[in-house]
């Protein structure tokens, strides 16, 4: 089933990806990530001494600060902060630096759809750049359900508004992980099949959702490969201490 997209892409085609790391001097780690015209800048500071109220003697704390392109931070931004924070928490090895806080600042440069996935990808690259120990990487993608029932990947803002439903999905990217085998297996299925984060908007049938999941998963492989290419090969070696 083919569908015409405004920018001439096929349903499964992503917009051009771009990622550059270490672009800010003073941050401990930074990265910019763009998907077409959507661009997000992320900076990581830390781990620093945890003086915040949510410090925890057993685990490191991650705080996410979302900076919108313009204007004040409102409810949607607060929600994004929470989603990014919980997603990053699940990929970081929090037990290595207990009682510390790592701040991730997400600056939106331009929003042309798929903003949250783009931000998660940027934050993930920035964490790697800062050398924060990670269990594995994460890739985020937006799947959009057109009225005809077919799934469009990586929609632009216009497409997001026009379609009836969309899902932001985050998948793990495990290939370079050195975690003990099987520790992350979910009922025997390989972990790549599982999702870290899912946020949906709009009504859809359960089958449509599962369909989105499948397509998103397939596309995430491409993005994983890109993410890994844009990071130095020896990169997640810090996480060798994870196990």
């Amino acid at each position: 089933m083919e569908i015409d997209r405004v920018d001439g892409r096929t349903a499964n085609q992503l917009r051009p990806l771009a990622c550059s790391r270490n672009i800010l001097n003073r941050a401990h780690g930074s990265a910019s990530w763009s998907q077409g015209d959507t661009k997000v800048l992320a900076a990581v500071y830390g781990p620093k001494v945890g003086t915040k109220k949510n410090e925890n003697p057993e685990k490191a704390c991650i705080e996410v600060i979302w900076k919108p392109k313009t204007g004040q931070i409102g409810k949607p931004e607060k929600e994004y902060e929470m989603i990014v924070k919980r997603t990053l928490q699940s990929i970081c090895v929090l037990t290595i630096n207990p009682n510390t806080t790592t701040s991730v600042i997400v600056q939106v440069v331009n929003d042309d759809g798929s903003l949250l996935p783009c931000a998660i990808n940027a934050a993930c690259a920035a964490l790697v750049d800062a050398g924060i120990p990670l269990k594995h990487l994460a890739v985020a993608i937006c799947c959009c359900l057109a009225d005809s029932g077919c799934v469009l990947l990586d929609p632009t803002k216009l497409e997001e508004q026009k379609t009836k439903a969309f899902a932001y999905l985050v998948f793990p990217n495990l290939t370079l992980s050195i975690l003990p085998e099987g520790s992350l297996k979910v009922e025997g299925e390989p972990v790549e099949q599982a999702i870290i984060t899912s946020v949906t908007q709009g009504a859809m049938s359960v089958d449509d959702y599962l369909h989105c999941l499948e397509r998103g998963r397939a596309a995430s492989a491409k993005m994983s490969a890109f993410l890994r290419r844009s990071l130095p090969p020896q990169n997640p070696s810090d996480s060798s201490r994870a196990g």
């Binding site: 929470m82 439903a165 009922e187 908007q201 359960v206 599962l210």
Partner: protein, 303 residues
């Protein structure tokens, strides 16, 4: 956490309460392995749920929902606004979720809880996604006046499942909503008509004589589950949520459409079968909640 191995040996010696405090995860897992929860529920069962409609007399629609000890009070106040140029036939629904300091030890006055804007956003997203409320029904005089429905939800007691309880109370309040009978006065402002006794002698014809209630299409209901290892625990308590962090919230409407599948991170990854299982649990729960809501509504009609 802690020393998982040492706890096994200690368990026979220390008292249950001490064990529960020292090794909460162990304590919980022991129960789970027997397919039971620390509070005696089976894994898939939600806590007792009640709805009371019309709890606030000063509001146009209100409901008190309780899931376990989590208590939510939702009330709707109708105000009049001039509709926007783009949609002259539509009213507006503004949803806000509050966590006052009374509800939990972690909320202090002047410092709003982190969770409240997030739940608030989730609620308005869910209710708009489900298309439950037709905003056209909130119109009074096309282009001139429309209802602005302020739906405020207060958490009176927070024992997790905040979103589930908040959504339930919001939905119940919407089903209880009765529009005040109003008419236009000379200045074009909308005024309330008090008609009960002198019904015939109204000098102004009410503009909304027929439309007194909202027609709710496809009502959304939700269930939050905890994922832990291979277990799926429906409707977690605060104790369970403090030791197992992965949450999945599924919202389905009465026609089994998926309104939202919300899993914000968490150490446990969800694969397709887990997702399907939690959707199946939610289906069951939707039927339960629908029944509870219907009973509450029919109870109101009897009065």
């Amino acid at each position: 956490m802690g020393l998982p191995d040492a706890s096994g040996d200690l368990s026979s010696e220390v008292e249950v309460d001490a064990f529960r405090r020292l090794f909460p995860l162990r304590f919980c897992e022991r129960h789970l392995s027997e397919s039971i929860r620390p509070d005696g529920r089976p894994l898939g069962r939600a806590r007792d749920t009640t709805i009371a409609l019309g709890a606030v007399a000063s509001a146009d629609g209100s409901a008190l929902a309780k899931i376990g000890s989590t208590t939510m009070l939702a009330a709707i106040k109708m105000e009049v606004m001039t509709p926007s140029m783009e949609s002259p036939d539509e009213g507006c629904l503004a949803i806000d979720f509050h966590m006052p300091p009374i509800c939990s030890p972690i909320v202090r006055p002047g410092r709003p809880a982190e969770a409240s804007p997030v739940v608030s956003k989730q609620l308005s997203d869910t209710i708009s996604s489900s298309g439950m409320v037709d905003l056209k029904e909130l119109s009074l005089v096309s282009g001139k006046a429309a209802w602005m429905a302020y739906l405020d939800i207060y958490c009176l007691d927070a024992d997790r499942a905040l979103f589930d309880a908040a959504l339930l109370s919001a939905v119940a309040a919407l089903s209880h909503l009765q529009f005040p009978t109003v008419s236009l006065n000379e200045d074009g402002r909308v005024v309330v008509v008090v008609s009960e006794e002198d019904g015939g002698k109204l000098e102004k014809e009410p503009v909304n004589r027929e439309k007194r209630k909202l027609t709710l299409k496809s009502i959304p209901f939700s269930l939050t589950c905890i994922l832990h290892k291979n277990y799926i625990l429906a409707d977690p308590t605060a104790e369970e949520e403090s030791i197992m962090e992965t949450l999945v919230t599924v919202v389905l409407d009465s026609s089994s459409q998926l309104i939202s599948l919300y899993k914000p991170g968490g150490p446990v990854l969800a694969n397709t079968s887990v997702i399907q299982d939690s959707i199946a649990l939610t289906r069951q729960r939707v039927r339960e909640l629908q029944k509870i809501l219907d009973e509450a509504n029919s109870g109101m009609e009897v009065d």
